[in-house]
Symmetry: D2
Subunit: 349 residues, 4 copies
């Protein structure tokens, strides 16, 4: 272990869930970070290695309760708390702290939309105004200046990365965009729900939340911003019997005169210098090829139906869809090389 002298001191709130564990996996090797505090209210007092034995070999602090944290001795806070519980927690944090929030609590700029989809009034509306939506490749400049970054949802990351540049370029129509997404089970978190018990998921697939998943307005916010006008998307998530990964198959109408090859070139050009976005020269991506990495792989194909194209994106929902992008945002906020701590090769098979 290197010495901790001039490292930024990080606290991770909600360290007993999957995004918390993944964040710790990444931050433990980050050269500029010292993990000083881990919280988990129900498991306070326990060593972290009892909650996640795969990281037992790391030297990590025991879990504590949030109210016992001395935030003055920290520089950065990552919030991995459940949706709906984070607004007040973040609002109460000292001003000097930079914050990356992995929940949905600050993702929707319009608090009325938030209230509509999350079922209660926003509890920190003033703070919302300063929150930056951290889809790093799209918002890098704002992220760099932000104090509070709302880390994007997993599905919205996989949908926006291929779509935003194409909408900005006017290369696809904004009507009738269809996002058919397939997710691994870790996307549901480490919560005691019957529907994610092993026997309920294994060897089968189903759609859920059709037409009413909370990531729909988040996707629409990003696409609407790119379009300069409101956008409605058709978004259908599916649960696949796998641990990690989101594959989004996206059906679009081409703008007049546009082609699938044209879309691919626009994406390749847009992402040419991005370390984490790979536009495939041909073929379609697979989630297993980005497993464990912060990468988003994108494929483009012509549809049989004239005037249409199909985009396919693959991410690891726990990395680029959550904790990896959180580290990427932190790097941008701190002025560090954006890939620091994220030089990960995919683990396959």
């Amino acid at each position: 272990m290197p010495q901790m002298g001039n490292r930024a001191r990080a606290a991770i709130l909600g360290a007993s869930g999957y995004t918390g564990a993944e964040l710790i996996r990444l931050l433990a090797r980050h050269p500029h970070i010292e993990i000083r505090t881990l919280t988990a209210d129900r498991r306070a007092g326990e060593p972290f290695g009892r909650v996640f034995p795969h990281l037992a070999a790391l030297s990590l602090p025991d879990l504590v309760r949030i109210e016992d944290v001395d935030f003055g001795a920290h520089d950065i806070v990552f919030c991995c708390l459940p949706h709906g519980t984070t607004q007040e927690t973040v609002a109460a944090l000292p001003e000097h702290l930079k914050v990356v929030d992995l929940s949905a609590d600050f993702r929707l700029a319009d608090i009325a939309t938030y209230a509509e989809w999350y079922g209660h009034a926003h509890r920190a509306p003033e703070l919302q105004k300063s929150a930056v939506y951290g889809l790093t490749e799209i918002k890098r400049g704002q992220v760099a200046r932000a104090r509070l970054v709302a880390n994007p949802g997993c599905y919205p990351t996989s949908a926006q990365l291929p779509l935003v540049p194409l909408i900005e370029a006017g290369a696809v129509e904004v009507r009738n965009i269809i996002v058919d997404a397939k997710s691994g089970v870790t996307g549901a978190g480490r919560s005691l729900r019957e529907d994610i018990l092993f026997p309920e998921v294994q060897d089968g697939i189903h759609a859920y939340g059709i037409g009413r998943h909370r990531h729909a307005p988040e996707i629409e916010q990003g696409l609407g911003e790119a379009a300069g006008a409101p956008v409605t998307v058709s978004f259908t998530p599916h649960l696949a019997p796998m641990n990690r990964g989101i594959l989004s198959t996206i059906y679009v109408e081409l703008a007049d005169g546009e082609t699938a090859d044209g879309l691919r070139e626009k994406l390749r050009s847009r992402y040419a210098d991005e370390p984490f976005v790979h536009v495939l020269p041909s073929g379609a991506p697979a989630t297993r090829h980005v497993r464990g990495t912060n990468r988003c792989d994108i494929g483009v194909a012509a549809d049989r139906a004239p005037g249409r194209a199909i985009l396919v994106s693959a991410i690891d929902n726990l990395v680029k869809g959550a904790s990896g992008q959180a580290v990427q945002n932190m790097n941008a906020m701190q002025g560090w090389e954006e890939t620091t701590g994220l030089e990960l090769e995919a683990m396959y098979p």
Copy 2:
């Protein structure tokens, strides 16, 4: 075992693959069938239980080569041979035999379309004229009078059952129909291919054959017939890490004045007396709930985008998508109760 006196004598050609095995699982308990012959050229001479130990307890004939079969002593032939090898085999069968072909060789009525998608001229064009496409619920009358039934593909079954009645009723537009389908790995058969080795499939998902899968023209044939005009569909298959099941998520534009509830009612009415098609009163189906059965479960949901709806169908690709529908077709051809031998409850978990 009941006595064999007046049973129909069946031969299964290509019994060493997954559809062959599943057919035998079903026919072994069928009260009107005697399994007299099983062929598998490369494994001729072996007991069937060595090829599929899960059925070793059944009394079954050893595997033989096709050329060694005395077809005169049979009444019905099921062909589970690879695509492209079946046309000549079926053409050479004695006239008195009824035939259910599970390959793609006789599914496309237009032999030019066949040649385009399968890469060679049709080898039994005369026979093709008499072949009936065996989507039983839709073609029951023709199936009952057929000598040769082309058993539908797995994806086309899952796509046509929800769509055909709605297109016939003019309830959905025939343009911009999108079929996003997810299949288990048995759909690829028991073939030695690197891409279906366990480690290549486990814990990941990907799309394949985008815009060029051979089931697209088969789906279009069925939808076009329903529409009375050519139809182009967008069809994207995916490989999911599971053994069995196809889930098709289908995105449609509603006809003027139509609603998702209206679609559901039309489907419920159309399939009210069908033993194998269940239209859910609400929610979306899951492949694991039809595992091992001949059922097709269908759900209908309104889309967020106005004027659109989402249909989701779930089948077991080896049963309703292959061998179960083959038995159903045989039952119809023989004038037996259509559910005979198919009274199966789903095996879950």
Copy 3:
């Protein structure tokens, strides 16, 4: 559906778990049974198809609470309640009812051993005296005369079927018997436990409860009875990432002059007329080949170490390891053909 006139009327207590669902799958097709009542306290009032949609097509009664059941209108009761809650429930049932209890509550004849392993005094010690341990192949005669049958545990079934005849024959030593067992996740039931969430189980394996699993004394009871003296076994269960199946690999010391071939012959002879026990002529069994069936497949191999042999048994933990054996016991208790309702082919793949 056949008419219900002279069928035995069955109640299933605890129908919302996996063994309950599997029992219903089997009983729904049983020609001599009418499923009259299903209970599930927390889900009382709900249609069964909402709890287990895979069986929604069956005509089944809604779930009710136990205290609302009119037991006078029943002939047979199956208890699928959690361990520790069944003794008092069964003790309170009317005398005319036959009972098959799938919990562990009546499996241990010695109530002191029960108290030691289950942590509380037995709550129906008188009733225990009349309970028959329902390992059907071994106890058929007693089962036929029993009012209350304690259905064996899944692990004990897989361990005793190969071992009991060999111990009875003096073919293996009773010292140093080692049972290394691997189970699918449904063995843990449909309970909200973090350790059986999909991501906690998928793509990994581990041992648990080493040296202190409650099935150890149950196995020892059966082996001790066969030996006519107390037996201590080494029993180590493992959790494998699969839905169904138990594979027990059993290491034994041969009696003087005995051989692995000799063991196999003794088992083949002992089980020659048993419909549900198959002793393989060579090779080792696989759980997937008995999936969904009431079968126990057994293989025997010589060990490298002289004087030792290895037995391997495979069952489906929900069928022969639970609900299938329960039906088999009921058949024996009622004097029906023991295979009635259990003529199941394995579902593979």
Copy 4:
């Protein structure tokens, strides 16, 4: 990418299999290594990223044939070739090269034993004499001086690490040692075999090669060396439906006066300074907690049967069981810090 100036130049022979890919994943980030050459005879001429798209983002040389390699321009060779093909290849390599062979070709010191188990005479008997068996923690000194290291098999690694120190200490008897091992499917390599197709493996488990697996003599060689006398072990491998991982459950008889706690203490003491071997203070390890790492986790438990104990070890078969240990051996051979390039946290879930 750092500059390549003074790095050791490595060739990987047989780079199109899983151990090759895993080796490249590890070496690509190794600060002292330049991957100069990758061979794969059947895929020569192809870019590596086509064979393993998950590593497509790395800058790697195209695949070539072995006969086209200029070995003079290399320092280290890793052989990931099939068993039986490596002896002649290695014998033909220039003397200046250091070699880590991941096949079984040089693991057995006794060429008569090799011939017995591998079915042909050893093809490089002179070279065999200088080969060092690379179980690093046990053979570190010899490895450091070796030119040719035979990298251990996956099963033997998982069996020897817990057993060797205990046998050396006389803490367990060498008779009746039983190793019941469960492996993920990548252990079978990326070979076209029907028995490792996804549907053949998914959702089931089975034993194979009982009493005749080639890793048995390798385990016995290591244990015999520790005991100073020949040892016979009972070794039974199983195939579990998972990608990675070996769990070995090992049943031993305690030496007089020894206890399970005593075994644990001896192992903790023996491995106290080892970065890759973790002896758990209590409980049993799980393969998923070492996934992707070079770790071996070991648990010790008392058996119910007096005088016996149970050891459980968990490794990732592709890392500590193959490519990770190969890198560890290379580090030792080169005099580099042994953990270089192997600072990996487990990827879980």
